[in-house]
């Protein structure tokens, strides 16, 4: 049975879920909506497993399944086609798998919503999965872009899910607008691609890339990267992501941790040959990724909202992934996408469990000592923290280390800053953990009575994700430990083949000793950060307002205020100016034409005197004119 031919079904199933939940939301019971929403994703996951089973056979070549001709304009052919290969099937599994767990979680988390709104939530969530699947399955940049735009739309819909709150609506708008700014770069990149290659299909562009002038490729890759900064929250377009925490926590888990924000990584990984050929862009990507990682980590040190810490952590980890892409460690970046999806979703869902137990309190200063009230949440959250800090043998260590090794190969400076950021990561994550779960409970007595573990629909996904976060590292055991044990690298090698060949001609391999030393350093750093944070914050949590340099961090380096002053206010003034012109100049002209017509018609009306004599005169004049024209003008 060739399940690859049924690959079109994978996105269509969530789409069907969207339509059912969206159209019939007023007449379905809540449990039915939840079941429909989750089942479609489960079915898609099963299908993805079947496809994966076919793809991982030895010697599998990418298959392009064309559904129909989408755009056909002269020489430009853009078919609606899906490309099934190792990269896309891996992402399919991540999206549908983690997505399914989050859908199950949502059935419990969102149960306070009314029926139609509950169904609306699941409809949006299914629509999001549909677009994300379209994004990773697309066989050309245009289908990818359709998915790209679609997930941006769904992100807006879901962030502003509780639409009655104006602040949430503003956060949703901010996310969408910043995404759109990045999308402009993406769109221009597509135009340049069409101009240069005459096609947008991966299968036609990548083989021809080696014969293309480097400046053109540099422009394309830089523009694509601009799109990625918007979607994946890098400098300068990252400020929407912390604000996006206004949405429900499962949404944050799915969209802003595991899937949508990784779209940029996917896109660059897919276009890896283009990036390998343009070292300039590679440097830009790496530097921006590193800077973002560092910046976000510093801000996370002083945040007191549990979700905001996790949001900045996401931005920081995305920076790591871009660093990996920039230095050419494509497998490492994709590996980190996978492990990050697991542990970040786990952390967000755990945070959601805590928030609902605390009756929607999100300030960690009012929490504490939750360890004994919520054991499962506590344990899984701890596993997530260990994973993200990069402590072996959990998965974060393997993926982060691969990226750092690649960074070191390019430049030791990258490595040093990366390791410092890892220290900060461990520190703020365990600050979060200690403040929330350890020590004494600092909330009201009323809340203390209501603290209890969350239901199974919540804890089951937590447990599954914790297992994955713990064990997924073993998919990518580095060469240094065992020969040919890096299953992921082996699996993804056909996708990155061309890049690997080009890179092999470049740098020098390093020896085992060096690699083990690097690993040791990063582990040591992570452990130092962890232990320091735990000891500091379990005894005396940070309850007072930040002062001095800490205040700058707590206020996010005033970046939002800076954007507001430099970009938003001038645009506002400009639009006011144009509004003035519109009202007084353009309207005056348009109304003036109306007045002119009225005046003219008043004058011409006098011709209608009603006197027959005048009419006859006009008739004669008319005949005269006709004669003149006919007999003398038209010779």
């Amino acid at each position: 049975m060739n399940s690859i031919n049924l690959v079109w079904l994978v996105p269509v199933l969530p789409l069907a879920g969207f339509l059912i939940n969206g159209l019939f939301r007023n007449s379905m019971s809540k449990s039915f909506s939840g079941i429909i929403g989750s089942l479609t994703i489960l079915a898609a996951f099963v299908l993805s497993l079947l496809i994966f089973g076919q793809v991982r056979q030895e010697g599998f070549r990418p298959v392009v399944v064309t559904l129909f001709d989408f755009i056909s304009a002269g020489k430009l052919q853009i078919p609606f086609a899906f490309q099934v290969d190792q990269l896309s099937s891996l992402f399919l599994l991540i999206i549908t798998g983690v997505g399914f767990l989050i859908h199950v979680y949502s059935t419990s988390y969102m149960k306070e919503e009314e029926g139609p709104h509950f169904a609306r939530y699941f409809a949006y969530l299914n629509l999001f999965v549909f677009f994300m699947l379209l994004l990773v399955l697309g066989a050309n940049y245009v289908i990818l872009f359709i998915g790209w735009e679609g997930v941006g739309l769904c992100s807006y819909l879901l962030i502003g899910y509780w639409f009655k709150n104006m602040d949430y609506g503003n956060a949703a708008k901010k996310a969408f607008i910043m995404n759109r700014i990045g999308d402009l770069g993406f769109l221009i990149a597509i135009f340049v691609l069409i101009n240069q290659f005459g096609s947008v299909s991966f299968g036609e562009i990548f083989p021809a890339a080696t014969h293309t002038p480097i400046p053109v490729l540099t422009a394309i890759t830089l523009l694509l990267f601009v799109g990625a900064t918007g979607k994946s929250a890098q400098i300068p377009l990252y400020t929407w992501l912390p604000d996006a925490m206004a949405g429900p926590t499962p949404v944050s888990a799915l969209i802003h941790a595991a899937t949508m924000v990784t779209a940029g990584i996917y896109m660059i990984a897919r276009s890896n040959i283009l990036y390998t050929l343009t070292p300039v862009t590679g440097t830009v990507v790496a530097v921006i990724g590193l800077a973002t990682a560092l910046l976000a980590a510093t801000i996370a040190l002083k945040q007191n909202d549990i979700k905001k810490v996790l949001a900045y952590s996401t931005v920081s980890q995305l920076g790591y992934m871009f660093l990996g892409l920039g230095v050419g460690a494509y497998t490492g970046a994709v590996f980190h996408v996978m492990t990050h999806a697991f542990f970040k979703a786990l952390l967000f869902l755990g945070a959601g469990s805590v928030i609902s137990a605390m009756h929607h309190e999100q300030d960690i200063r009012k929490m504490g000592g939750l360890k004994k009230h919520m054991p499962i949440t506590h344990l899984t959250f701890l596993i997530g923290c260990i994973a993200i800090a990069g402590i072996p043998p959990f998965s974060g260590f393997f993926s982060k280390d691969e990226i750092l090794a690649g960074a070191f190969a390019k430049s030791p400076v990258y490595y040093i800053i990366g390791v410092f950021t890892a220290l900060l990561t461990a520190f703020y994550m365990f600050r979060l953990y200690a403040t929330t779960f350890l020590g004494k409970f600092r909330g009201t007595d009323d809340k203390a009575h209501h603290l209890h573990e969350s239901p199974a629909a919540v804890t089951f996904p937590l447990i599954v994700l914790a297992l994955l976060a713990a064990g997924a590292g073993f998919l990518g055991i580095p060469e240094v430990f065992a020969k040919d044990a890096h299953w992921l690298e082996h699996f993804l090698s056909p996708v990155f083949e061309a890049s690997t060949q080009l890179q092999a001609t470049g740098g020098q391999p390093f020896d085992k000793g060096m690699e083990l030393a690097l690993m040791g350093v990063s582990v040591a750093v992570a452990l130092i950060g962890t232990i320091w944070a735990v000891t500091k914050f379990s005894r005396k949590p940070e309850l007072e307002e930040a002062t001095g340099f800490g205040k700058v961090l707590a206020n996010k380096w005033y970046v939002d205020e800076f954007y507001n002053a430099v970009i938003v206010r001038p645009l506002d003034l400009l639009s006011k100016f144009f509004g003035f012109i519109e009202k007084y100049v353009i309207d005056w002209i348009v109304n003036g034409i109306g007045r002119l017509v009225q005046y003219g018609s008043r004058q011409i009306r006098l011709l209608q005197s009603g006197q027959v004599g005048a009419y006859v005169l006009l008739m004669v004049v008319g005949i005269l004119v006709l004669f003149l024209v006919q007999l003398f003008v038209k010779k």
Binding site: G613, L617, V620, V621, L624, F627, L631, F632
Partner: protein, 166 residues
């Protein structure tokens, strides 16, 4: 210049002067009289062209019946010179100018027409004779002839209807 020519010019001048006087006269009854003179002149032209039937019919129908009808109406309304109202001076000038321009345009258009050397037969020709005219009229143009009788009928009916005192 032969007799024909002299007669032609005489009649032409007579027609033109009478026409102008029709337009210019203040007293409407005078206008009618000048118009009758125009008709006589034109009938004279017809005789010159040997269109005998038409000449006589012109006199009988036009000068005889139609002009008499006009005079009846004038007498009915008791119109004479002092009841005539004056038109706006500018419109009068405009009217004259328009008419004059029409004249100029048509003359200019037709003076180069390729008819210079065509002659109109005068004093002879059989087509104007009643005998030939009648034959053609009743053979080929019988249907229009009958239709014209229907036309008269409808005209009479129309006049009676319009003239009824409600």
């Amino acid at each position: 210049m032969g007799m024909t020519q002299i007669l032609f010019w005489l009649l032409s001048v007579l027609a033109l002067i009478s026409a102008i006087l029709v337009v210019v006269s203040k007293n409407p009854v005078h206008s009618v009289l000048w118009l009758i003179l125009v008709f006589f002149a034109i009938s004279g032209h017809y005789i010159l062209l040997n269109a005998q039937f038409l000449a006589i019919v012109n006199l009988i129908v036009y000068a005889g019946a139609i002009m008499v009808l006009f005079l009846f109406v004038f007498m009915l309304m008791n119109l004479n010179a002092d009841t005539e109202t004056q038109k706006n001076k500018w419109l009068k000038i405009a009217g004259v100018v328009a008419g004059g321009s029409l004249l100029l345009v048509l003359v200019a258009a037709l003076k180069n027409a390729d008819l210079k050397n065509q002659l109109a037969d005068m004093n002879n020709g059989s087509i104007g004779l009643i005998h030939n005219l009648g034959l053609v009229l009743f053979n080929e143009y019988a249907v229009p002839f009958e239709l014209s009788s229907v036309l008269f009928l409808s005209a009479m009916v129309g006049v009676v209807v319009i003239g009824k005192k409600e």
